[in-house]
Amino acid sequence: MTAISVPRRRFALSLGERFRPAHRIVNWTLVGLLVLTTLVAVFASLLAPDNPIQPVGDLNLPPFSPGHLLGTDNLGRDLLSRTLIGLRASWFSALAVVVIGLLFGGLLGVVAGAFGGWIDGLLMRFTDLFLALPGALVAIAVNAALGPGLIHTLIGVSLVWWPYYARIIRAEVRGLASRPHVEAARLAGVGRLRLIFKHILPGVVPTAIVTASLDIGNVVVLLAGLSFLGLGQSAPAPELGADVQHSLYLLLEQWWIPIIPGLTVMVLSLIANLGGDALRNLLAGEK
């Protein structure tokens, strides 16, 4: 060990190198936050102290009231419970959109990148077409045409969210396909499918994971926006964007009722962004 560490110290002149261990701890903490958020979402109904759609206390209690950590809303429902259940809906919806985008866009990207030629040209023109349309607007229009509802929202957003993944994964596949280890495998007579699954896909996975985790925050914000416009689940269901919309008229008297769900969206998006960045740093550091 000492034999390795001596030359390392001699070259460790840049700041980044010296703070490496501290950076690693910060990065792992941020990734841990990502996992923690998912756990909170999974166990939201166990963590919620009250039923989120039943009145359980006085109306419009401020945060830190006894028994109601975040207070209650205009109907006397516990805000912490509503926020937790709303957080679950937001987080899992965003994950669903990203996974669908990753699977569909990824499939297209791998096929286009691995086969090349006219297949590549055709699939990428198709992708560019979707990429050039205003995604948020099309998602609103699709959702509005299908009517309000969480599934309809997910359909609308997924429809515009995959092209980005198709582009990135195609570029990654093309890059890997010209690497020596893939060329060697091809020359050794490995079949096309085996080449894709054994030699190219494993190299694509880290990029795909980082791209997806950096994207969750964007999807959380977009979904909250659609919900705010009244396109998500219908009324009593706790949903962060819709809860803001429904309590807008309280903004100047009981500002926390509309602001808390909005802040939750921001915290989710912040965690997703920082966690994604940290994941990228960790994966880049281990190469």
Binding site: L137, A141, A145, V221, L229, L251, L252, P258, V265
Partner: protein, 328 residues
């Protein structure tokens, strides 16, 4: 160059056709019967059937689509189910407010992005907080920024108004800031400016970060370039080096990002207008959604989507003019 412009125009035209086809298909699957909406809820089945024939709804889909496209090109997007006005005249009425908000916000975004990039690249002391606040703000949904702004600057401090445009204007441009100046109305100008500030900021933060990051990367790489060292060695003052050699050479990527963000802003304006009851197209859309007024929703999608596509095409062409290597 001419070939590039023609190609880019053709691509934009194809995209517009695709967008219109998409909106047409959505209109077909949306609940609600346009023929019934046209004649009213209490009309007899015979009247509905007559309206169906008159509107061409009994024809096959491709023919209906061509008819839809033809009408749209002639400014006929059907009747709004909510306002009972032609959608086109509704849109015409609300467009100036949206255009003014987006353009004002775009200027704000450019200023914020310049500050972000310069303060970062030049390591201005004390501006780390500004960059941190902007970075965190960019992860917030636009409605939260708007509401936070209202609570602080209207509710607590009473510095800025809560909602609306403040001044009624329709002539000659429909832009409050321009019209009030043309009429020599300074109070109107100030009121309009105050009303624009909060919604403008709420809309500007996210694009400012996207543009600012790219610009900062450009500035930092330009700073290390040989021609900058040469300029300094010639004895040019630091400001001259910064402005003539560093900033101008790092604008390229930031310009294309700005164009992209301007397009995004036309799509993202919907939520900000809803928060501030801004009498523009986005607010019109937000009002139409709960009523399932699909002709109106379709009209807004076509208009804002069309603006997005055209803005992107124009930016591409401007970039090609600025840097002819892009046309190769």
């Amino acid at each position: 160059m001419i070939r590039f412009v023609l190609k880019r125009t053709g691509a934009a035209a194809v995209l517009l056709v695709v967008l219109s086809a998409l909106v047409f298909v959505l209109q077909q699957i949306s609940p609600g019967d346009p023929a019934r909406a046209y004649v009213g809820g209490n009309a007899s089945p015979a009247a509905v059937a007559a309206a169906r024939q008159q509107l061409g709804l009994d024809q096959p889909w491709p023919q209906q689509y061509l008819r839809y496209l033809w009408n749209a090109l002639h400014g006929d997007l059907g009747l709004s189910l909510r306002t009972h006005q032609p959608v086109t005249s509704d849109l015409g009425q609300f467009l100036p407010a949206t255009a003014e908000l987006v353009l004002f916000s775009f200027v704000l975004a450019i200023v914020l992005a310049l500050l972000f990039a310069l303060s970062g690249a030049l390591r201005w002391p004390g501006t780390g907080i500004y960059r941190g606040v902007l970075l965190v703000g960019a992860t917030a949904p636009a409605f939260l920024l708007g509401l936070g702004g209202i609570v602080v600057f209207y509710g607590d401090l009473h510095w800025l108004p809560e909602a609306g445009r403040g001044v009624d204007t329709s002539s000659p441009t429909g832009f409050v800031l321009v019209d009030s100046l043309l009429h020599g109305d300074l109070t109107g100008f100030v009121a309009g400016f105050q009303h624009l500030l909060l919604p403008g900021l709420a809309l500007a933060v996210a694009p400012a970060i996207s543009i600012g990051r790219i610009l900062r990367a450009g500035l930092e790489s330009a700073y290390g370039a040989d021609y900058v060292r040469t300029a300094r060695a010639k004895g040019i003052r630091e400001f001259g080096v910064l402005w003539r050699h560093v900033v101008r050479n790092s604008l390229d990527a930031a310009l294309s990002m700005s164009g992209l963000q301007l397009g995004f802003m036309f799509a993202g304006v919907v939520i900000v207008e809803d928060v501030f009851s801004w009498p523009g197209i986005g607010y019109y859309l937000a009002q139409s959604i709960p009523q399932s007024d699909f002709p109106a929703i379709a009209g807004v999608t076509l208009l804002l989507g069309g603006v997005y596509i055209v803005v992107n095409a124009v930016v591409d062409v401007i970039q090609a003019v600025a840097d002819p290597r892009l046309t190769v």
